[in-house]
């Protein structure tokens, strides 16, 4: 079986689209559950979606490989990490334009995890899964699929996208459970993004992406750069939890 829809843009796009639809549906439910009736929240979701779609393509532009931005836009790479950065920028641009002050991260975080869990099924069905496992659980490519990806046939490869689907599904479940227990608005989003950054850094070792420098891939270098900022944000979340716990314990 290997990768049943190898290099099929239609299957990949369909699953990404379904992920977006599920995220919008969950966003609507969560908005209602929290009693948020402000119309600007839909506009901010639109900003996130539009800027995410553009960022996924634009922020991966490799000028050395394809000097023309138009050519890159037509047939260049896309990246989830670049899409997330674009969506994050979009939310902030939208909030600035619409003069919306409250934090929106907690509203978006479970929706993003859900869309990633579904969207990554598209990657699992169409893309090179990963590096050789050395174990029996790997995905084995047919000779045709191996030729398409420039990879080895008949060898078990890490199903790195399945690992990622499992991460996002677990993160989604955990966020549903803990979404009302954190001290401050926005903390859920910080913890999810930090968790994904750490997970993604680790899974890149079995993804099979090209090494950029010192054996680390482009996404790993990006994550290394943002790691100090994420570590600081996680520390503030944990610090805010302590007084809240003490208040709970005190009579």
């Amino acid at each position: 079986m290997g990768v049943p829809y190898a290099a099929s843009g239609a299957v990949h796009g369909l699953l990404v689209g379904l992920g977006i639809a599920a995220a919008l549906g969950f966003f609507a439910l969560e908005k209602r559950r929290r009693g948020l009736a402000d119309d600007r929240l839909w506009a901010i979701a639109g900003f996130a979606l539009a800027f995410g779609a553009i960022g996924a393509r634009l922020f991966t532009w490799d000028v050395a490989r394809v000097p023309s931005l138009a050519a890159w836009w037509e047939a260049g790479d896309r990246s989830i990490l670049a899409g997330l950065v674009g969506a994050w920028l979009g939310v902030h641009v939208g909030k600035l334009i619409l003069r919306y002050r409250p934090s929106t991260g907690d509203l978006f975080a479970p929706a993003v995890a859900l869309s990633m869990a579904i969207g990554r099924i598209g990657c699992l069905l169409t893309e090179l899964p990963g590096t050789p496992t050395g174990g029996a659980w790997g995905l084995v490519l047919t000779p045709e699929q191996a030729a398409l990806f420039g990879a080895q046939a008949g060898v078990g490869l890490h199903p790195s996208f399945a690992y990622e689907i499992a991460f996002h599904a677990l993160a989604f479940a955990a966020m549903l459970h803990y979404r009302d227990r954190l001290a401050r608005p926005g903390d859920l989003f910080v913890l999810y993004v930090a968790g994904y950054a750490l997970f993604r850094f680790a899974v890149e070792f079995v993804r099979g992406n090209e090494a950029m420098w010192l054996g680390l891939s482009g996404p790993q270098w990006f994550l290394l750069i943002v790691l100090p900022l994420l570590a600081w944000r996680v520390w503030t979340v944990v610090a805010a939890l302590r007084p809240a716990r003490q208040e709970e314990v005190a009579p």
Binding site: A43, A70, W73, L98
Partner: protein, 129 residues
């Protein structure tokens, strides 16, 4: 000895007829609707994709003075105008819901386009993989 805590200042009762501010709502009229925005966006993006697929190959073979202009419009002009227009409409209260629909239509179009491509490809190959 520390001083005893001061009592909180007495609350001023709200004036008669006062209502606390509710959640912000965009003006509702037929033209300012999310669904209409999504529909208009999907139609516009669909037309753009169709024109790009239909006219793009002709332009790449043709060498008329208009070719670079048309290529620019098809390649960059429409996406930029669409995005800028959607942002401007979203920023105006009277058209905010319609503009947000145009932005959301970008994601919805991806779903529809991929679904249509997949259905066509499955139909052509006749394969049930």
């Amino acid at each position: 000895m520390s001083k005893p805590p001061e009592p909180p200042p007495p609350r001023v009762p709200p004036p008669p007829g006062f209502q606390p501010p509710g959640p912000w709502q965009a003006p509702r009229h037929w033209g300012n609707s999310f669904l209409l925005g999504i529909l208009a966006g999907v139609v516009a993006i669909g037309l753009y994709v169709y024109l790009t697929l239909a006219v793009g190959p002709l332009l790449s073979y043709g060498n008329t003075p208009l070719s670079p202009l048309l290529q620019g419009v098809l390649g960059w002009g429409f996406p930029l105008v669409y995005l800028a227009g959607a942002i401007v409409l979203t920023s105006l209260p009277a058209t905010m819901r319609f503009g947000a629909g145009l932005l959301i239509a970008i994601g919805v179009s991806m779903l529809i386009a991929a679904g249509v491509c997949f259905a066509i490809l499955s139909g052509f190959s006749g394969a049930n993989r």
